[in-house]
Amino acid sequence: MITSAALCPWPPLLVRELTGADPVLPELRAACAEAVTTLLRDDPEVVAVVGPGTATVSWPGDGRLNIAAFGAGTTAARTAERPVLPPAPRTAERPGLPPAPGIGAYLLDQAGYHGERLIWSVSADEPVAGCRKLGAELAGGSTRTALLTIGDGSARRGPRAPGHFDERAGAFDAEVERALRASDLTTLLDLDPALARELMATGRPAWQVLAGALEGMAGLAVEVQYAGDPFGVAYLVATLRPSIFRGSATRE
């Protein structure tokens, strides 16, 4: 059973060490931290992290983000004698994760979560049915599971965007945000994988896992902590909590 769910994007710049002297987007980092804190509020027995990757497979629960793959870890290591940068967390002893679920694991670390984790990558080519089925499986059984889904909207939202400009990107992302705010899972399940791929919207498979996990739950309470595209990629941070658990949250 799902206790609550959260959506976070996975720009590597969420890792503070990767942005140099400037924090770059502290508000996005704060929004993700708030979403993960909310996600953990109902004392889940396990947190399932689901993010896009090259294949639909599960990963070791103690896996971590390989920060060095983006550069800062190696810099910190090389300058260890006279560090000019805050040292990157030492993660070499733990198995490396693909970047998207890796960011999910990183956000859980940042929130101080030490409990059990299930980690999945979902292929960008995973059909809707497969995403939905994985979501239903994660939600099945009696284990109190919090679901952290990782993904972004289009990376083609303007001339300076990673994927330049695609005129369809704005409508696509607006529809996702609207559907999320309305907990309209049908619309999320209707997102076209081919269009999402063309728009470099990496969140599609994870969002459809989310929709599959939450199907049949009435009265979802949705909070959007962040929605914006400061670098031409649509970032969306949100939490969804089934209303049945809202009582326990209120008591805190």
């Binding site: 590597p12 390989n66 983006f70 970047p99 994927g163 470099m200």
Partner: protein, 294 residues
Amino acid sequence: MTTGTAQQVLRLGRHAFIPDRRLVMGIVNRTPDSFYDRGATWDTGAAMARVHAVVAEGADILDIGGVAAAPGTPVDVAEEIRRSVPFVAAVRAAYPDLVISVDTWRHEVGREACRAGADLLNDTWGGQDQRLAEVAAEFGAGLICAHAGDQAPRTRPFRVAYDDVMADVLDRTLAQAARATAAGVEPDRILIDPAHDFGKNTWQSLEVTRRLGEMVATGWPVLVSLSNKDFIGETLNAPPDRRLTGTLATTAICAWLGARVFRVHQVRETREVLAMVSAIQGEQPPARTVRGLA
């Protein structure tokens, strides 16, 4: 610096350059939309004026490009040829001995450019079109084997990650150099280029700079293209028109580590930096020394 295979003579056009000779490649864009000059040499007259200027400032090589690296209006083969090839012919007519490079990933463009007199093909997008090497071989031209990761031409890096960025640079550039040699390009006309910013975030471009000695140690001559790029802009928080200092600092480091060719917008300033590095390394004497000697 780094031990490895010794650098050899580099042959470009009719010239043979010894390893101690550092070469400056002046950029001449035949584009309306390149990031730094923003179409300043789109007009043919302005482009030829720029050629005269960079030659006067000491450029050894010209690099003529017809397609901006950034995403933008598509430029097909015919349009790229129209932009760059007649200009190559005009420069060749004006400067029979100057080394002319053409910045293209397409073999069709490379072939027409070589017919018009180009000496070197600058494959900045890293072997997207394997037939480019065949064209270089056919015309006895040189080839620059660059690293762009998995990126398609005219795309920006999007969260690109490497277990070891320099290992990937070496794997790909050396594989391209080997393929070029097998295709018949003369080995002493092949260069390798880490291609700063291409398929790399700023951290990764800084790391390939720091570890450039590993490329030099392969024995292949190393070209670096640093000029006013985003990794410098992000490091210094500087817009394109305020990146010269960072460019020159990076140029000095790369020269010290053994790079031999420097692709630049500012030829005169680069020549001065390279002259200082060569003097410090003891490869070239200072221009005039009287201090304490009179």
